[in-house]
Amino acid sequence: MRDLLAVDKWMLLALAALLAIGMTMVLSTSYLYSQERYGDGTYFFRKQLIAMGAGMIALIACSIVPSTFYRRFAYPLLAVSFIVLALVLIPGIGVSRGGARRWLMLPGFVFQPSEFAKLALVFYLARSMAKKRAV
């Protein structure tokens, strides 16, 4: 339990500050628009709040997962990410909008593989650089 609570306090502080600024900006910029359109000034703010809550749950879940898990899956994740990026380029599989083919249509939602690629690249770089530390 002590290990779970041993978080980087400065990182957490930076995260909290970014979230607070982001939420303030969302409320400030969307209040009048959502009041006119939906009759509720906090419509977008509440949506953002729900997304933030989901993000926080994901953050806690990811911090509980042991680092060996990320180490083990860094390369497979990179391979999967590359394959999915290639799938996007195939006509009929990748969804084209506004002249760009960036999305995959999955049941219930649209998936953008480039977001997944960012995560995969970070895992790969961390894993690979830790392995090549002395070269």
Partner: protein
């Protein structure tokens, strides 16, 4: 600390470059920029030598510079940022002059591509700014 170019830096650049290529085909230039910055910052934090990174960015931005006009994405400010670092250090870093000529849009018809390719894997050379101006 990453010390060597061929083992410590180049494999990561190749993987990052492959991803960037796939994203350019979509095209998603914004994500390419984010991935590039991510790659360079992580290499820097990982201890890669600054002159290795500066040399490879000169080559990496060559295709991006060529795309600049048609895509309307401002690559020039990023290039200018790295250029200002080089000017402050008083040195310019490059794997081979051919990559610089490519970046500047100069004629490369007479270039020795084989030697340029080999030098890319050995990388990089330093040139004093004063000697190239």
């Amino acid at each position: 600390m990453i010390r060597t170019f061929s083992i410590g830096v180049l494999p990561h650049l190749i993987v990052g470059g492959a991803f960037a290529l796939m994203l350019l085909l979509e095209p998603d230039f914004g994500t390419v920029l984010i991935l590039t910055m991510l790659l360079y910052f992580m290499l820097f934090i990982g201890g890669a030598r600054v002159h290795h990174l500066l040399a490879t960015r000169a080559n990496g931005f060559a295709p991006a510079d060529l795309r600049d006009d048609e895509s309307g994405v401002p690559v020039a400010p990023l290039d200018e940022f790295f250029g200002s670092v080089e000017r402050r250090l008083g040195q310019r870093f490059s794997c081979h002059p051919i990559f610089d000529r490519l970046r500047l849009g100069a004629d490369v018809g007479d270039a020795d591509w084989g030697r340029a390719a080999r030098s890319f894997f050995i990388c990089p050379k330093r040139t004093r700014i004063s000697s190239i101006q």
